[in-house]
């Protein structure tokens, strides 16, 4: 589960039956400081996200669970549209006590 930004859409008319009726988006994975991390991937959209939206997405086997056919050939799915990301500074609490 990771953050990403929607940067585009993919249209395919001829595709596996399990993919029919689903919107595909190109997403750029992001770090928590919203910097690009790695290469863009194509993800199935389950939340009606649009271009430029900040989203969270899930990869691997779990991605296909957003679909009706949970054995559809999918390895990335958008699972939510993110409103805010809060990063709290200060590092680890009681670091000296925990790591000895």
């Amino acid at each position: 589960m990771q953050l990403a930004k929607v940067i585009g859409t993919v249209v395919a008319t001829h595709k596996h039956d399990g993919l029919k009726g689903y919107k595909m988006m190109i997403i750029q994975p992001l770090t928590d400081s919203l910097q690009p991390s790695g290469k863009p991937v194509v993800a199935i959209d389950s939340v009606q996200a649009g271009a430029n939206d900040l989203v969270h997405w899930v990869s691997a086997r779990e991605a296909t669970l957003v679909m009706e056919n949970s054995f559809a050939p999918v390895d990335a799915a958008i699972t939510g549209i993110v409103d805010d990301v809060y990063v709290v500074g200060g590092g680890i609490k009681n670091k000296e006590e925990i790591f000895t």
């Binding site: 589960m1 779990e62 957003v66 809060y86 709290v88 590092g91 006590e97 000895t100």
Partner: protein, 92 residues
């Protein structure tokens, strides 16, 4: 399972239904000395962890689904414990 520290959280109002009511935290993997290791990612919380906590994270879908919902929910990572102490006996 990996060690990580909680860095913050993410708020999403539009989400896949199974994410309703779940806390989604940003976790940063750390090594046995508490230093950052690799990139951060998101994980659902089951132990009420907060920013700055050292936690145990399962980064594997089957565990996440068993802890958080039914067998058909798209969860991948989940926080399963808050770490009190890490002792490394053999130091290089």
């Amino acid at each position: 399972m990996i060690l990580a520290r909680v860095k913050g959280n993410v708020v999403a109002s539009v989400k896949y239904p199974c994410y309703e009511g779940q806390r989604l935290l940003i976790v940063q993997p750390i090594d046995e000395k508490g230093d950052d290791l690799g990139d951060s990612f998101l994980a659902c919380d089951t132990v009420y962890a907060g920013p700055g906590d050292t936690v145990l994270v399962q980064r594997e879908g089957n565990t996440a689904r068993q802890l958080l919902g039914t067998s058909l929910d798209p969860f991948h990572s989940v926080i399963v414990g808050i770490v009190d102490k890490v002792s490394v006996e053999i130091k290089e």
